[in-house]
Subunit: 209 residues, 2 copies
């Protein structure tokens, strides 16, 4: 079944979840697909279609129970469980991510970081220990992390990816601006902040006056 579900549908599940969290924080208990759609600037038919891929949620004419749909979306995404996560590279971006409270709130626990800089190795950021890259396989086996965030320089990104795959990591979020060959059985997603800025430029450059 999962092979029939597009990446964009899955991305929208995250967006629905985020919006439901805002509704919940505002004390909204039940929400219609129309209201959810309006808040997100998408069509309500698309929301119903996306959710129908995973089951029957909500009651016709009433709407979705916010807490229930939140729980269901978390279950579909898998974030109803805790995900031990490691971070490769302990530079400035990495440190900002290590201290970002939103990960913990949403099920991601950064349990270890790795670097090769002797000034960083064996120190901590908050509670998170920074290990030497040489210890990668040993620590991964201990901490049962399945997700890795890659903030290493582009030149070593592929080599680190291959080691992570060999050590049984399921998914890698890559912040390096390089395309990675994906080892079998692993999923790689990329955050290319410059590409996002380029999109904005494109629209500003080509705007119809």
């Amino acid at each position: 079944m999962i092979e029939n579900i597009s990446d964009s549908s899955v991305r929208r599940l995250s967006a629905y979840l985020r919006q439901l969290e805002h509704f919940s924080a505002d004390g909204v208990a039940v929400v219609s697909s129309q209201l959810l759609a309006r808040r997100m600037n998408v069509g309500d038919a698309m929301i119903r279609r996306d959710l129908a891929l995973f089951g029957q949620f909500g009651r016709p004419g009433v709407g979705y129970d916010v807490d229930q749909l939140t729980a269901n979306l978390r279950k579909i995404l898998g974030t109803n469980m805790r995900w031990n996560t490691v971070i490769l590279g302990a530079g400035k971006l990495s440190r900002a991510l290590m201290e970002y409270p939103g990960f913990h709130e949403r099920g991601f626990e950064i349990v270890a970081a790795f670097d090769i800089d002797p000034r960083k190795v064996d120190t901590k950021v908050g509670d998170i220990p920074i290990h030497h890259m040489d210890e990668l396989e040993t620590i991964l086996a201990q901490c049962q992390a399945r997700i890795a965030i890659l903030t290493v320089p582009a030149e070593v990104a592929q080599q680190v990816t291959d080691r992570l795959a060999g050590a049984g990591i399921d998914g890698i979020l890559n912040f390096a601006t390089t395309h990675l060959e994906t080892p079998q059985g692993i999923h790689i997603d990329q955050v290319d902040i410059t590409a996002h800025l380029e999109q904005l430029c494109f629209h500003a450059t080509n705007a119809i006056p």
Copy 2:
């Protein structure tokens, strides 16, 4: 013409550009759409179709001149010019972005940051001055920035967005995990790192063994 071009096509232009930069760094002068496609795990027909939207590039049977196509893609995206960029919020993520060398290399110059914390206001990160939010409109008028990066707390993101739009900003890259109402004439793109992690979880949870 631009209204016929999908967001995903524009996103792929950035990815082609990034890959061409790698080819150039490796000393490759001419590249076929097949080789470009193989490196990026996409179909070569898609690459030819994407590029054909913007003109005639490359020579049949020979391929693309790497430097020429790089220059053309930069022109299409608008990054052949410098883009003065401001950053809202001067927390840890913001500081990591301010010190990221990749922006300058690709045409983006962070010229000012804004915060309300008196311990941060009137200090600098590298060469970048941190101003008080009260000065936003004045400084924006001086520095001719057209792009803004938003790293402020979710609760104030909409209000800051509206002020940026009022001050003539063309595009906003939003790191806050909240949906923003888009004022007319402005383009907003979002980087939701947690949503990227959720995608990885979804695939790890629903993997076909």
